[in-house]
Chain length 344, copies 4
């Protein structure tokens, strides 16, 4: 059985795990106030070219999303997101549990369009009943998106221009940020993207860590008192150094990029092999998640030997499914999968 259903099926990259092992018996302060976390924070500020940014480490994605969003919004405000956005669909209403509506806009291949955000804001403030409606208070996007697509530099610039004009902080959920930056055709670096938003995460879980998201806050108002929010939301790890150590291992010598590039390369190898065999895709993804459309009969056969996630029925006897690569995926695994898929 070779599993491709998600990118969190294995543990951590060995270099990450070794780092935890090496420091294991050392004594350090708790709650992220140790020297490893400090070092990792400094490294991230440097890599992002944001010397004034606040950097925090949290355990998981839903946790960091609910923490950032509830810290940023006042009670009458909502967060704008694509209707496919993780916070809109797959976090069991964590944003609402924090008191806020997710104001959804149509997804365009998983992405939010600047013009749609502008139109929403314009409509809100033009409405005679605006005080009876939730006020847009923040914009959330994921990059890469939930369906593997990546914002272009121009798309980010347009979105951020609208956000600044409307006074809305822009938050980028980077659970798969490494894959976005390593994507085929991505035209910007981490430091360049960092200047096109107010707060973002660098996801560890799906790019080589056991767990962990690094949160980078450049917007000064969002930095204030942030550790209180982490604690309140249950995100302050007692042995906080586990997060600092992992991000050091990933970032201090480029491992994060190498893992991300390899994840993407293997996913594109799969994509290209499927294309050669004549299969089409739900969406054109340049990252580590691929969504081919395959006959249900073939899928029934495949699932005896391979793991993948059902995505959606196409209603014609075929379905879109998801295949993900991770830090641990090998070329041989991809080739074994391709070997099991005939030409169309």
């Amino acid at each position: 059985m070779i599993r491709f259903e998600s990118d969190y099926l294995e543990g951590a990259h060995p270099a990450v795990l070794r780092r935890l092992w090496d420091a294991n018996t050392e004594q350090t302060p708790g709650y992220g106030e140790d020297a490893y976390c400090e070092e990792a924070r400094a490294l991230i500020r440097e890599l992002c070219g944001l010397p004034e940014a606040a950097v925090h480490f949290l355990v998981g994605g839903t946790q960091v999303n609910r923490t950032v969003i509830s810290a940023a919004l006042r009670p009458h405000q909502g967060v704008v997101a694509a209707d496919t956005g993780h916070i809109a669909v797959h976090e069991t209403g964590a944003v609402e549990a924090g008191g806020h509506k997710v104001l959804t806009l149509p997804s365009h291949d998983g992405k939010l369009r600047a013009a749609d955000v502008e139109a929403l804001c314009a409509a809100h403030w033009a409405d005679a009943s605006f005080e009876h409606m939730v006020q847009p208070g923040m914009v959330y996007i994921s990059n890469s998106t939930e369906i593997g697509t990546v914002y272009s530099r121009g798309e980010l610039e347009d979105l951020y221009a609208v956000c600044r004009a409307r006074g809305l902080p822009l938050y980028i959920d980077g659970a798969r940020l490494g894959c976005a930056l390593a994507a085929e055709g991505c035209g910007y670096t981490l430091a360049e993207m960092a200047r096109l938003c107010d707060v973002f995460t660098i996801g560890g879980t799906k790019q080589g860590a056991l767990f962990g998201e690094a949160l980078v806050i450049s917007h000064p108002a969002l930095q204030k008192d942030f550790r209180y929010f982490i604690k309140q939301n249950g995100g302050m790890l007692a042995k906080g150094r586990l997060l600092g150590l992992q991000f050091l291992a990933l970032l201090e010598d480029g491992l994060y990029d190498r893992i991300s590039r390899q994840e993407v390369a293997l996913a594109l190898r799969l994509r290209d092999g499927l294309r050669e065999r004549g299969w089409t895709f739900l969406v054109d993804s340049p990252t580590n998640q691929q969504f081919p459309i395959l006959p249900d009969r073939l899928l029934s056969e495949l699932k005896k030997d391979f793991g993948f996630s059902f995505w959606q029925s196409m209603g014609d006897g075929s379905s879109a499914v998801r295949f993900c690569t991770s830090w641990a995926t090998t070329p041989e695994q991809v080739d074994a999968l391709l070997a099991a898929i005939p030409h169309r």
Copy 2:
């Protein structure tokens, strides 16, 4: 520098870490639906003598507290706790952020008294304005407590009798449950305690794990839909097996008990050494946290070589401080500390 300020200054017991290492490249489903978690759940049910209990794994204590409490209460209800309780003092209002008041009662050496809970309930329902007040909806205790004390069997029986009579689920925060069960004079086993409450945790972080709390829910109504609550509260770890593997390592051959007994033994060695030297304590603790009262001048000297936590000034030139032992503490470390403390 030898540090005693808390019990989460080091990583995990080597056997725990090795377990993670050994399974590292294996592929398993995410979100705690893997075979390791299943095995750990079955083992915990067996150890607790609760074949019908639901068992879940969460990352940290504040997270599990807010999740359990918000799942158990209706909006008009509050959770009863000692005024020293962790949820009342040190979770940045996580319970309130979930919409609920913490109804505090006086602490008796860190413990809640059955008679006080009964009196609170009686007063609530006797009050003509009862609908204008928060209704008691659950009782929270920690065992061992925040100041190292342990509930006796009789105290638990009395408390649980009141809780059942009043229809209040009893929740035991077992962040240091191992130390409670290993405490000098604790007259009950895990399985015995499990029958004296409705829901409790077995804390991993402070007894040998990198992180993790096992949540055991025997009360059927609290079991319903619980995984939704974990996800909503940001507690569903993508690589959930990390929790199952750690609890397997701790519980399958008694390591958890051995660690706890060693933590307690070393803390009592410290206590006894201090007693011999004539020093007194803020509270009589039979577990891994000790709170001696020492002269401020001595403390200033000590802190050059030893870590400890300031607890409270006694107002007479002396202070109560906290010394904790952990899975990694050695007899040599304790003896080094004792050697640095003179007779009174």
Copy 3:
């Protein structure tokens, strides 16, 4: 200036106001525990044919919606509503502020379809990630709807059948219930409708009262502890008898029905006059809200002498606007309006 922009532009029907005046100096207990409220409750139970129902009086619609919904749902649940539903659009996120998502489904002339609710539920429980999504926990409809339409008996029966099968309480927001029951072609009585849901309101504000919504809860589980929720949500009026007195005035001799029938009759007189003049409507409404589509140029003229609400631009130089009738509307006012509108 004659105003039709809403149905809350005047005070109360004189009979209602007189009732308040007559009891003004009498001394009664507060918070709705007076004899007038008791009498009004008994009367409502009788009129609804629900001898076991709990009846409460609250001040306003958003208040009663947030109170009912937060009392009914557990934290991981959301309330299903049409995307035009008042709670989804015009309550400034009050439901989300209470912690819950509004799960919107497409509006069919302002109404929710049973089949859509069933499909949502089926999809939720069939999804492998169901625990990562908000669970449907209640269904909300308004009758008459926000755009004046009315559920047929068959539509209510179908919806309630789905709700019962799926274990979802059905809540009917009856802010304009009188008009629904008085609507052209409505084939059921108050008592009949009362048996086709679990909880509903009888709106006072828009049918002759100064303010006030009577809440009727037939579902036993929703009745429990309900006054706590009213207090917590700021809905427990100190001089609660003001609500009981108003509902007595409205209901004890059929005034509520007479007002509602007159509101509807005058709105239909307007509708028919507009139809005769060749104008069309955004929606076919049989109640006191009418939404004709008129040329923007004509509307500019009209608004010098008449009040109405802008609803939506049709993009062709014409707009849909809302005209409402109230307890105070006269035939002469409607005729004056019609006289100002030419044939198409």
Copy 4:
């Protein structure tokens, strides 16, 4: 039966009710955007000497408290109050339902002391674990208090000085503000008090209105977007003019002061009569609530003819009870009560 148990047992002062009657058939915009509300707002700004203040009208006290407090605080902050404060005891956890802890301090005759607030703040920021604790974010007091006492000018000045130094908005719940200003020995005017806080209410319900609290916000940051919060909290009355009209009736020619002075005068007549008879009081109240301590046997007799509220047992066969006067209380009622109470 003559009732003194609260100050909301009757309807409104006839002048208030007449005002509603006179405007009853007039058509005005809803939601407080009518000319009466505007006029009342301007009048209140003038009476308070706060030309830049925002003035809003809400229906009830719990509603206004939850709205103000949730608008003012960020999620990690709590509101400081005396442990006898209405928000701490008698609002069914409305503040907590909005996500915030009430940080209670000891009551001194119902009042909060500046020194206690300063000590709380100093302790918070001095604590090494401050981020694990709820941050003080606002101070709440009631004036007159829940037990009838009144802050002196010096007490308010001291409290406000601490609040400004610590950056905490000071909120005065003036549900009985008229009685505070009319109290024996109160050394300040409305306009003077208005400058000693950031936001306060002028209570209508207990001083002659049917219902209604006027909210005066001088702090600019608290003014922003406030109507959204009113709507979200269910406090935006559709026929909002009912509030403007009532406050006009109360304030435009000094009726509010006359009512308050009469309430206080009659309460003090009762107090003095009881004192003459040798009875003592739970607290020395200079306002419309009096708390004499009377033998339980006498109370059993009294309650056949008079209403009063049980307050607390003194444990010696006597109890403190509450007698309130309202706009409708007459000297004859007070004298009848006094006649029924013997000398001690």
